[in-house]
Assembly symmetry: C2
Homo-oligomer: 236 residues x 2
DNA sequence: TTTCTGCTGCCAGAATCTGACAGTGGGATG
DNA sequence: CATCCCACTGTCAGATTCTGGCAGCAGAAA
């Protein structure tokens, strides 16, 4: 195996382990001496990979992900850039910022002519519906990623308010509104919640007792196509 | 310079040259012997780079683009994937297909856990407005890229039809409608054309006499913020 | 303290890369 | 047709890089 392939493997291996891994293990896993492993890690760090080593513990790859070299056609790049611009205009501030960052990273490595093409090819207009969501959807996405319970106040279509504790597992982006899908402890069932009707969002440290994947699968099974289509109207 | 850096340079150099380049030139440009250059090219081809060499001519990089290794945070990947999914649902078939391809390429290199995260994090609903555009927007994008004139029939808001020959230079994606921005030969001015009012689209081989970049800049200068915002209503 | 582990310098052998030379075959040109 | 240009392959010796083992230092945990 060539050195460059091995470096990529190293990153993948580090991603798999969530807890710190000691160099010895990594070296064995790649069939290489410890000395070489240290050199490889140094090389990756030199190239900007966020690997941290601590004596007595081991190595951790800080959250993030390295996309290996990929070939895209002109149209695929256009699609990615256009999509990211759309996200950059979304009311979800954190995600919008992430899209902007991603765009500038991509633009930085694009050759000049292609970058010009992209500047010209698209112009997305405004937030279309800056339907002021008071809450930070970043918190919702974080809760989904880490499978934690989420508390908030919900005002339903009729105007009645209620306090909810839910197990969120998905987030839908519709034209005019964002919808969180979760298991609701109050209703003891799956429910959709429109982001613009939520308030007083509080993230908790409590891990909910089911796997996000399983709930998603179950929820999908309870839906037929037509029900899903109207999800944005029928939130809770 | 290390070999791996040199390989990336090679791709960049090839991208810069639109006409075939002979090996000798490339070798000189990188300060390396011709023999080594052949080896480098072979390596790149082995990694899937679409480089074509023909005796008596030289090398060309087939259209497309190689994204070098890039670090993205979790949120940036989420943003890119979400955006690409949105594009994948757009009525522009070609672009939608490109987005789908790009997504599968990205998914292929994502570690399992991250891929699962992404499956769960978003669910974009439907084409929202499958407002049947009869025309193939791919043709428009192609004309923009190559700076060619475009002919079509246009039916304005009042219902009156007219035949147009325009110099297209930008394309806007709004929630419900796509708008082409172009210099109209009939009106001798910049005009917006809603895609759903265009028909009988015919690409020509005639290169229009101005640089796309320049027109875009000029067009932007003639707009103030409010004018651009309402572009989707005021098409032509 | 001891133990574990990250990290660095050094060195010799292994692996790889590189340049030069020779030769083949296809395309373009005259 | 002959000629030139150029992509492409094989080979081989020397330069370069990589690798593993060893010795030693520093910080964290038990």
């Amino acid at each position: 195996m060539s050195r460059s392939e091995r470096l990529l493997d190293l990153i993948q291996i580090l991603r798999r382990h969530r807890r710190p891994v000691c160099g010895r293990t990594l070296a064995d896993e790649m069939g290489v001496s410890i000395r070489t492993l240290y050199r490889d890690i140094a090389t990756l760090q030199g190239q900007g990979a966020p690997i941290e080593g601590e004596a007595g513990l081991g190595y951790v790859l800080k959250p993030g992900f390295m996309l290996p070299p990929l070939m895209f056609t002109d149209e695929e790049i256009e699609a990615i850039v256009l999509g990211s611009r759309w996200v950059a205009k979304q009311p979800d501030k954190r995600l919008a910022a992430a899209a902007t960052d991603a765009l500038s990273k991509i633009a930085a490595v694009l050759p000049d002519d292609l970058r010009e093409d992209l500047d010209a090819t698209t112009l997305l207009v405004g937030p279309s519906s800056a339907s002021g969501e008071a809450i930070d959807l970043g918190i919702v996405r974080q809760a989904i990623r880490s499978e934690r319970k989420l508390g908030f106040l919900y005002r339903d279509a009729g105007g009645a308010a209620s306090e909810r504790m839910v197990w969120p597992f998905a987030l839908g982006f519709f034209d005019k509104v964002r919808v969180m899908v979760a298991w609701c402890e109050l209703r003891q069932d799956f429910r959709h919640f429109r982001a613009d009707r939520m308030s007083a969002l509080t993230a908790t440290e409590i891990r909910y007792p089911r796997r996000r994947q399983a709930m998603l699968k179950e929820w999908r099974a309870t839906l037929d196509g037509s029900a899903r289509k109207t999800a944005q109207e029928s939130a809770d």
